[in-house]
Amino acid sequence: MEKTGVLSAKEAFEKLEKVGEGTYGKVYRAREKATGKIVALKKTRLHEDEEGVPPTTLREVSILRMLSRDPHVVRLMDVKQGQNKEGKTVLYLVFEYMDTDLKKFIRSFRQSGETIPPHIIKVILSICPSIFNIRFFFVHLFLSIWLQSLMYQLCKGVAFCHGHGILHRDLKPHNLLMDRKTMMLKIADLGLARAFTVPIKKYTHEILTLWYRAPEVLLGATHYSMAVDMWSVGCIFAELVTKQALFPGDSELQQLLHIFRLLGTPNEDVWPGVSKLMNWHEYPQWNPQSLSTAVPSLDELGLDLLSQMLKYEPSKRISAKKAMEHVYFDDLDKRHL
């Protein structure tokens, strides 16, 4: 089946190491033999049920083909067919390589001693001798320099997707790739993404990661909007500040209770229509807490932006485009973003 002159995936690339598991397949770091360029190969099996190419692969590839000109969406360079050891057809999605993701980046700051470059330690030591101050100073430094930049890039990438009629639906730190040197951030793993022509039907067996799932999804709303992605952006924003997940539920009910404990149990006053949603029932009644209790080190402007991302009513939640215009980003140098 291989065409003459067209290299198969194995002939074109040298696998260097497995770097992770995507939503539906393994991901390898590899070198393109012809150019020496380092790429990421995402492998997708086709043989599982003989129902052809999986819908998630079709959607991811075709949507990425459409979105790849934005600098904040990971670039899909090619699609290659190959065969695995059992002779089954596999597809390799060839992506630009990014050396880390936001999940790893955040985790690296929890072990702060191991990640601060030595030359920065020397500078900090000359200013703040004590260990406590070093950690506090560095965290503050990170907040002021990179937090805004990463959040702005995320809003910009999401705005680009939404502006082209694409919902991501699975935004989480693991799906946000980063280049450590340039601190560029790119949205990846669009296997659950889909184009919307309004409104979008409900999807059974949703696979959205619980921690970043919008309350209307948890409550069984049958119509999604771009607001589901903005809820995820808000959760990621808080996690970037605190280094911990904002709402780490381990079941759908626990996820809702986590949200309600902080933002207050919703009612018809704050969220018209909420009690008519399919999964709604009686919940413990909590009063809303101030967001600053959950994200204490975020400044007032950041807290305002975060609160607009975490509005209960989807139509009241800030859009990605408007988030980019929020005063929180006013002092950020956006020329290279």
């Binding site: 086709l46 003989e50 052809g52 184009a195 409104p199 771009m226 139509s315 485009k321 408007k322």
Partner: protein, 318 residues
């Protein structure tokens, strides 16, 4: 120059009203609320619509240049392929109706089919390749658009002369996708319909039921798939002409500019005129799963609906 559309028919839906009601929940009283929910922004303003429309038109422009613009010319050289293509598309539309797929699924199936024809040659002596292509394009479109996708064998339950194994369809899927350069997410007229409706509503807020309008517009758009001559028009042009046709309006400069300044008034006029000619002639040949139970509300629609039924019965007498 204006086109008199007072005689244009309002026709039954191509697909079930249940699907329509399931997909489209816009009611006239909470129409504004729905649009707000759609865009996730309480201060929904025209600039958001405008930028989305601009993005769509830009993507459409990039897309059209490499796609089905020249297929019409190629098809005219092969009479047998025109008929075979129409037969294949009719089959796709029957399966689409059987499974109550979304209108976008039907349109995308035909789009993939057309684009593949553009780059591959078929011989007249064998019928199975086009049938395999039809099954494959419908499968790909369903996977892109539907929440529940039937098994590959189940897709072939309706009037199929050949039955292809899933492995065969999978190989064809890979061939089609390589041919289409994996660009399955294409701009369709459906991307524009709601944006255009929201613009026209600002200038003429007389229509009572948005879901009815959307249903009729979708029906017209799907039927353009059967007529080869519509291949020269861009999706936005087809959407604009279909909306103006369904809402019984003349095509003039004001209406076209109201939609977007980047949309060519001349092309909309030409497309509109073609709709008037072709869809009346072809209407009786289409497959009707059922006549829509939706009833028009305004007096104008009632009159046109009655005229449509009259014309429909006349057409069947021929």
């Amino acid at each position: 120059m204006s086109f008199d559309s007072s005689n244009h028919p309002i026709s039954p839906d191509l697909y079930c009203s249940e699907v329509t009601s399931e997909v489209i929940h816009l009611d006239s009283d909470d129409e504004a609320l729905k649009f707000n929910v759609l865009w996730g922004d309480s201060d929904h303003d025209d600039s958001d619509d405008e930028s989305i429309l601009l993005n769509l038109l830009e993507s459409e422009h990039n897309q059209v240049q490499e796609q089905t613009k020249f297929l019409g010319q190629q098809l005219r050289k092969k009479t047998w392929l025109i008929n075979a293509r129409e037969e294949a598309i009719n089959w796709i539309l029957k399966v689409h109706a059987y499974y109550s797929f979304k209108p976008e699924t039907a349109y995308l199936s035909v789009d993939y089919f057309n684009r593949f024809l553009l780059s591959h040659t078929f011989t007249q002596d064998k019928a199975w390749p086009l049938q395999l292509l039809s099954v494959t394009c419908l499968s790909l479109a369903a996977k892109m658009e539907e929440s529940k996708v039937p098994l590959l064998l189940d897709l072939q339950v309706i009037e199929s002369r050949f039955l292809f194994k899933p492995k065969t369809v999978q190989r064809m899927e890979l061939l089609v996708m390589a041919s289409l350069k994996w660009r399955l997410r294409t701009i369709t007229p459906f991307d524009f319909v709601h944006l255009f409706i929201s613009k026209l509503l600002c200038s003429a807020s007389t229509w009572g039921d948005l879901s009815y309008i959307v249903s009729l517009v979708s029906d017209v758009i799907i039927r353009t798939c059967l007529v080869m001559d519509f291949l020269e028009f861009s999706p936005s042009t087809i959407a604009a002409a279909a909306l103006l046709w369904v809402t019984n309006q003349c095509v003039d400069d004001k209406k076209s500019y109201c939609l977007h300044k980047n949309i060519s008034i001349e092309m909309v006029k030409k497309c509109y005129k073609l709709m008037k000619q072709k869809l009346i002639i072809r209407r009786s040949e289409l497959y009707w799963p059922k006549i829509s139970q939706l009833l028009p509300r305004s007096p104008t629609c009632v009159l046109d609906h009655a005229a449509a039924m009259q014309e429909s019965s006349d057409a069947h007498k021929l």
